[in-house]
Symmetry: C2
Subunit: 187 residues, 2 copies
Amino acid sequence: MRAPVALEHAYRLINHGPVTLVSAAHGDKSNLMTVAWCMALDFTPPKLAIVLSQESHTRSLVDGSGELVVQVPPRRMLDVVDAVGNCSGARVDKWARFGLAPAKAARVQAPLVEGCTAWLECRVLPKPELADELDLFVCEVLAAWADDEAFAEGRWREDLPEPLRALHHVAGGSYLVDGKQVRARRL
Amino acid sequence: MRAPVALEHAYRLINHGPVTLVSAAHGDKSNLMTVAWCMALDFTPPKLAIVLSQESHTRSLVDGSGELVVQVPPRRMLDVVDAVGNCSGARVDKWARFGLAPAKAARVQAPLVEGCTAWLECRVLPKPELADELDLFVCEVLAAWADDEAFAEGRWREDLPEPLRALHHVAGGSYLVDGKQVRARRL
């Protein structure tokens, strides 16, 4: 079930470098795209940095609204993650095409994508020079959520069933699935 | 063996969001630190974005030299990765303390850390306002290398032995090891 995540733990939802889905809405349009280049940037208030290419339809919605949701799609969404990254919302209604259900976010207009394991509702901090030159967006996380089957008490559960594990983009249609969680010994 | 990676494939060395080691040198000092917040930012010429906290000794070397090396440490270096992230080069010679061997880089003064599976030699693009406000550094990758047992023909090999797999930081001393590589079906 989707449960709130304390803002000081929000960075942990993406600390392991998973591939993400980014959703945005502006006016009567909404869309989502697959984004590998996303990282945490600060703890409290939580910030993240993300790259949204200029040609993408989602980028135009983010430019218009100043808001987005970053979500972590699990292994069970592999085929959709890849497909969403390989077509444009300018031509296809990705929600309908891939059977994705939007849900209402708490703090932003952008919808949450059902089926993911984590959601970070963000507002874009106005840094137009970064967006223009580098396609880089710095965002403040306003609200965070996670599927409590996958993430609880401020961290990803150990030994998650494979369908709930995160994906990491390798190249083309190839992804690495999270393996086991290990603990370092103190040297 | 360390082999050159074509610059157009450099982003793939970190595309899966692994935890990294960052080394830097300035004057007669060199140091390294563990960094989870690092992502690719562009393909050609390759760029990356990385967060280096103001208190770290490595950050002061990067500020002085404008150069750094980002490297991907594999599973077999788990304990060192965690230890390097939990002490300061201002007080400890991490190279000696953890038995790490520096190797000469091709394009920068910062040393390569032996035992890693990938290396990206970088120069920092001068954006002092980003460093000051967000601890964020935008770098151009000048040269890239990978252990050819782990990465070949422009991509991470499938079914790597566990000691060569990448790590992803969860929280505290916990890391996720890369699991299997999967391929999406076309929808």
